[in-house]
Symmetry: C2
Subunit: 246 residues, 2 copies
């Protein structure tokens, strides 16, 4: 499994992804799930992936190949005019890759090759945008009402996102929020694992923003994880106990 | 969907269940998911159910029928000598009911008729015990290492249970913990809904304990829900923000 979040703020975009991949609990590896394409001053596009590793790597591989071996008839992630077009390009590719893999025969279980993606960034002339791309190839865009997307093991870390997200929060606070959400997920599910990749995109900068890989012994991550555990216990203790007399 | 929790404490057992049932989001109803069989001074058995409503109602219905129309050859939930036997009785019944329903033909999707159960209580001569019963009819018992079970939509409400559960907590604190866990789930998933049914079982009492149905406007539930939201936000605000300088 996987846990990735893409979040839209007034200040720009924030992406975080875990790096664990597994085929069964005894076949675990670490893999990058965050990819970025950049032309400084012109476009920055970041992609987070969850699901079948063969499918997600095929998507990345074909995007890279199409760019290296340019051909007018083939779409190139460096050539799209808008992020909507970029989402359509990736969506079509995902749909085709899953369809090809599923042609293997009747023994294939529906959903085996599924993958979902969060794609966001900015192309000059547009505002920053954030999309959720489904295995079926269609996609939705983040709005003020739905300002963040999660893919993979999304449930454990959702309650804190719902409660603490604010669109005008700083990048510093947003990183804290994501680490709390990831910590809840890491504590609850073995198939999500450290290290965690972080990437920020500052609105209208049109260049890659701050990037960091949080290792398991990262002092700030450890401070957030233990601080949050203590704070939760203290907050819980302060709530009034139930009373049988009411 | 559904959310139910059964929890083992030093003081006894605590059960909580939501009451929403749905077949699609436009076909919602309220249904009881908590059933109790009691012979004061001799046995108390409480059952929580999640999954296909036809399956769970069939289990309850057959348990009731077997008792009303007694027959030595048929197992009766009032006649088992231990809770282990009770779990086996219910497990066998669940397995048979799902198998019968799945015989309908090849158009049936695997898992359509699945249901899971939490069963707990005490039979004279034993300590209080708590079991998780799978759709396959087998079951596991709660231990000191795994002191609570969740069925249904279990992920949203799990992080707080992991962090705040303590085996020597009071019933009053346990009810608070369950309401916090249910509140996180209610806020995240529409298929879990109020009212919430609570039942306590006091160790060695061998009689039904305190019961309450929390309605949506219950003052204590509202105090916990809003208090927890505020406390989380305050706890989150107090954690140190990320710094780009580190």
């Amino acid at each position: 499994m996987t846990y990735c979040v893409g979040m839209r703020l007034d200040k720009g975009l924030v992406f975080m992804a875990d790096t664990r991949t597994n085929a069964g609990v005894d076949d675990i590896a670490s893999v990058k799930k965050m990819y970025t394409w950049e032309v400084p001053g012109e476009r920055v596009i970041t992609l987070l992936s969850a699901g079948n590793l063969a499918t997600t790597q095929a998507v990345i591989g074909i995007l890279e190949e199409h760019h290296k071996h340019r051909d007018e008839r083939r779409p190139d992630i460096y050539q799209t005019d808008t992020l909507f077009q970029t989402a359509k390009l990736i969506g079509d590719m995902v749909k085709r890759i899953i369809k090809d893999a599923s042609d293997g025969g009747p023994e294939q279980t529906a959903g085996t090759f599924h993958a979902t993606f969060i794609m966001g960034g900015q192309i000059k002339g547009e505002r920053p945008r954030l999309f959720f791309i489904y295995p079926e190839g269609n996609f939705v865009e983040a709005t003020d009402e739905n300002p963040f997307f999660q893919i993979g093991e999304n449930k454990y870390g959702k309650p804190i996102l719902i409660r603490a997200y604010e669109k005008d929060m700083s990048f510093e606070t947003a990183v804290k929020l994501l680490l709390v959400s990831f910590d809840s997920t890491l504590k609850s599910n073995l198939t999500v694992g450290m290290p965690l990749d972080l990437q920020l995109y500052e609105k209208d900068s049109l260049k890659r923003g701050f990037e960091k890989r949080f290792l398991p012994n990262d002092p700030y991550f450890l401070a957030v994880a233990s601080g949050w555990s203590d704070a939760l216990k203290a907050a819980f203790a302060e709530l009034p106990d139930f009373s049988f007399d009411q």
